[in-house]
C-alpha cells in the first residue's frame, strides 16, 4: 500500500534529494508518522503543536487538506500528497 508524497525542494535534504517518496497510512497524520519513520525530521517541518504548520500547504490529489479534514483527512492507496511551502511574506 503506497501513497506518493511529493516533496518540495527545500525539504529534499530529508529525502536524499528525492522529489517524491512513498509512504502509507489511513489518514494524513498516520502518513506523516510513516514519513517520519523513513525520513526523520520531516514531521517537525510539517506539524507544529499537533497541527499542520500555517505556512506549509499540503494537498491531497488536487485539494488543499485544510478544506478537507486537516490531519484527520483519510488517504488511500493510489493517492498523491503534495507538500508546498506557502509563498508569503510582508
Amino acid at each position: 500500500m503506497a501513497i506518493e508524497v511529493r516533496i518540495p525542494t527545500i525539504l529534499r535534504t530529508y529525502t536524499d534529494g528525492a522529489k517524491a517518496v512513498d509512504a502509507s497510512g489511513a489518514t494524513l497524520e498516520e502518513l506523516i508518522g510513516d514519513l517520519e519513520a523513513r525520513h526523520p525530521g520531516l514531521r517537525e517541518r510539517l506539524i507544529d503543536a499537533g497541527k499542520l504548520r500555517r505556512f506549509v500547504n499540503v494537498y491531497l490529489n488536487d485539494e488543499d487538506v485544510r478544506f478537507l479534514g486537516g490531519l484527520g483527512t483519510p488517504v488511500a492507496d493510489g493517492d498523491t500528497v503534495t507538500v508546498l511551502p506557502a509563498v508569503a511574506g510582508g
Partner: protein
C-alpha cells in the same frame, strides 16, 4: 546576478503600481535560471503589509511548472511604504532556495533582487536586457 528582460521588469512594476497600496506578488517561471514566463499571482491577503499566494492557485501554477520542467526562477512582491529590502517575515518564510527574490518598492521606485537561503539574505546585481527594435 539576476539577468532579466526589460519586458518582465515592466510587467512586475505595472502589477505593483496597479495593486498599490496593497502588495502585489507573482512568479516568473523558467529553465536553467533564465526567467521567461510571467505569472501574476493573487495576493490572498490583499494587504498593504503582507502577501501570500492563494494555496490553490499556487498548487496549479507549481504543477504546471513541474509539467513543463520549469522552476520558479523569480518570486516577486512589492513593498508599498518601505524600501525594496526583505522584511523579517520575507526572510522567515522564504522557502525556494534557488529563486531570485525580487522586491519592488512602489514608494521609492526601487527594483532589487536577493537570494534568501536559511535566513541569510544576499543582495545581487540586476542586469536588465533591453531588446533591440
Amino acid at each position: 546576478m539576476l539577468t532579466i528582460s526589460r519586458e518582465l521588469v515592466d510587467l512586475i512594476v505595472a502589477h505593483a503600481r496597479e495593486d498599490h497600496p496593497d502588495e502585489a506578488c507573482g512568479v516568473i517561471a523558467g529553465r536553467d535560471g533564465v526567467p521567461e514566463r510571467y505569472i501574476r499571482m493573487e495576493n490572498a491577503e490583499r494587504s498593504p503589509t503582507f502577501y501570500r499566494f492563494d494555496s490553490m492557485e499556487q498548487f496549479r501554477v507549481w504543477r504546471e511548472m513541474d509539467d513543463r520542467d520549469e522552476e520558479p526562477v523569480v518570486i516577486y512582491h512589492s513593498h508599498t511604504a518601505t524600501e525594496a529590502y526583505p522584511s523579517r517575515t520575507d526572510i522567515s518564510y522564504a522557502s525556494e532556495p534557488y529563486a531570485h527574490y525580487v522586491l519592488y518598492s512602489t514608494e521609492l521606485d526601487q527594483f532589487r533582487s536577493f537570494r534568501i537561503v536559511d535566513g541569510v539574505v544576499e543582495e545581487e546585481e540586476v542586469k536588465i536586457l533591453d531588446v533591440e527594435g
